[in-house]
């Protein structure tokens, strides 16, 4: 049996920076203030035709750089592609943050003497290595909604359904459908690596 690969996608044509996802996440996992596992970012605020918003969190990369650079090997990647880590192994060194293209890892200041504690990041609502749905798991990682068969809180509560999570093939199907129906279409010639990021 081959497993689906779970991915996030945020449709910037629909994202309106309502912050529903980030607050839903914070509320669902009862995060301390200052930790945003998910954050909505608006660029070109107030510029006509150029303003847009996207919701960013851990993208659960296929070959996650965070997992590669971790000096204590606290990361593990589930068979469905969700990248998780063990907070009892993590030392809060910050290397995963330096390796992450999306700035996903967060470091609450809850260690000894108010120092930076161990890393915290989006779990795609899949908890951690502790016993599923145990009080300890919930304390450390928040809800384990995937185990309950539920959609992660952020995507489920997205007000405009801009944020989608699921099997990457399903997600890209939805995306393709939306782009087509918008009547603008996807550019037929692909953007190369040289142009894909602006420079």
């Amino acid at each position: 049996m081959s497993y689906a690969r779970m991915k996030f996608y945020c449709d910037e044509e629909r994202c309106i920076e309502c912050n529903g996802c980030s607050v839903a996440c914070a509320e669902a996992h009862e995060l301390p203030v200052g930790i945003s596992r998910r954050k909505v970012v608006t660029l070109n605020d107030g510029i006509e035709g150029k303003e847009f918003s996207v919701s960013v969190a851990c993208m659960h990369c296929t070959d996650a750089p965070c997992e590669q650079v971790c000096p204590v090997d606290c990361f593990y990647i589930r068979e469905d592609g969700i990248v998780l880590h063990d907070k009892e192994i993590c030392i809060g060194c910050g290397y995963c943050l330096y390796a992450c293209p999306f700035g996903a890892p967060q470091f609450p200041k809850d260690g000894a003497f108010g120092t930076r504690g161990v890393m915290d990041k989006c779990t795609m609502c899949a908890g951690g290595p502790e016993e599923t749905n145990s009080a300890k798991e919930r304390e450390l990682y928040g809800q384990d909604r995937i185990a309950e068969g539920k959609v992660p809180a952020c995507a489920a509560m997205c007000s405009t359904k801009a944020l989608i999570v699921g099997d990457e093939q399903e997600v890209s199907k939805i995306y393709r459908k939306r782009v087509m129906s918008r009547g603008k279409g996807v550019q037929s010639a692909p953007y190369g690596w040289s142009t894909a990021y602006g420079n």
């Binding site: 690969r5 991915k7 996608y9 945020c10 910037e12 200052g34 945003s36 954050k39 970012v41 608006t42 660029l43 070109n44 605020d45 107030g46 510029i47 150029k50 847009f52 996207v54 960013v56 993208m59 990369c61 296929t62 070959d63 996650a64 750089p65 590669q68 650079v69 000096p71 204590v72 090997d73 009892e88 192994i89 993590c90 030392i91 809060g92 060194c93 910050g94 290397y95 943050l97 330096y98 390796a99 992450c100 293209p101 999306f102 700035g103 470091f107 260690g111 000894a112 120092t115 930076r116 161990v118 997600v171 890209s172 995306y175 953007y191 690596w193 142009t195 894909a196 990021y197 602006g198």
Partner: protein, 307 residues
């Protein structure tokens, strides 16, 4: 390199393309209303665009080189000294007589404070680098905290040490000669080594520890504090996260040099020159040792009639 990027962005490609079509930020000042957490502000998106430069380099070095180099250098240095000890052996100097008073109590306290700092910082640094083998968790986490505490101690001892040894540590012609004969360590014979109060090896250690120390403190602080903002960064087209990445790379490479010289310093004072440790305990160096190992200094003292 491409491979890492492609794999990492994988699915995100589509999405990143959408973003790339837009112009970059009009002004970096126009961040979201919530201040304070720069790492998760609009810079996060910029970060995606610039990931190729420093982000990838950091991943590449961390995945392939840092651990290997640390391991190689440490083992290499240790093997060299082991061989040196076995083949050439330590230098022994006569410890009869009063000896020459070289280190005042103040200097000794400062030295030992710095020494303690290094003893705290360097092994804990190694513990973090090889955290995998230690299983991570509380042990390595504690090591991380100790690393920070050691840094504070180092900062405290840094300034007096820098000031008290700045003049004697300035380079001189002796240093070239010292290097040419590698400080006379490659021979079993007692040779007269050209050196002032401090020889070139000590000077090297001093400058790496001091100047390197500053850089280590600076880069370490960046990694420690994470959320800070330097407006000067914009001028260099660097994002704050990029600066931290540069800091991490620098910290690692410089760490290798510091670690290597620290081990050398330990070997020299504990093994290579028997009894040299005493000078840092009671402040007296044996005359014999000074005569050979710091010949210029010896001559100078003689001239000034201080012996």
């Amino acid at each position: 390199m491409k491979k890492i990027l492609m794999l990492c962005l994988g699915f995100f490609g589509l999405y990143a393309r959408e973003i790339a079509g837009k112009v970059p930020l009009v002004s970096k000042d126009m961040a979201p209303h919530s201040g304070g957490d720069l790492l998760v502000s609009s810079q996060m998106i910029d970060n995606i665009l610039h990931y190729q430069t420093w982000g990838e380099l950091f991943v590449y070095l961390q995945v392939h080189w840092f651990r290997l180099l640390f391991f190689g250098i440490t083992v290499g240095v240790l093997v060299v000294f082991l061989l040196h000890y076995l083949i050439i052996g330590p230098k022994k100097f006569a410890h009869s007589g009063k000896g020459i008073f070289v280190y005042s109590i103040f200097k000794r306290v400062v030295h030992w404070a710095a020494a303690l700092a290094f003893v705290l910082v360097i092994p804990t640094g190694f513990m973090m680098i090889f955290g995998k083998e230690l299983g991570g968790g509380d042990l390595v986490l504690t090591a991380r905290y100790v690393h920070s505490i050691g840094t504070v101690l180092f900062i405290v001892s840094f300034i007096p040490m820098f000031l008290m040894w700045l003049i004697p540590m300035l380079p001189s012609f002796d240093d070239i000669k010292w290097f040419l004969m590698l400080g006379g360590y490659l021979t079993k014979k007692k040779v007269v080594v050209p050196a002032g109060q401090f020889n070139a090896g000590q000077k090297m250690w001093f400058w790496v520890a001091m100047l390197g120390g500053i850089v280590m403190i600076g880069s370490g602080a960046m990694m420690y504090f994470q959320d800070f903002h330097l407006s000067i960064l914009d001028r260099f087209g660097l994002d704050q996260i990029d600066l931290i990445r540069v800091a991490a790379i620098t910290h690692n490479f410089l760490g290798m040099a510091v670690a290597a010289l620290f081990i050398t310093h330990l070997y020299m004072s504990l093994f290579a020159i028997k009894g040299s440790l005493d000078s840092m305990i009671d402040g007296y160096k044996s005359e014999d040792e000074v005569r050979y190992m710091h010949s210029s200094f010896y001559k100078k003292l003689k001239k000034e009639d201080k012996i």
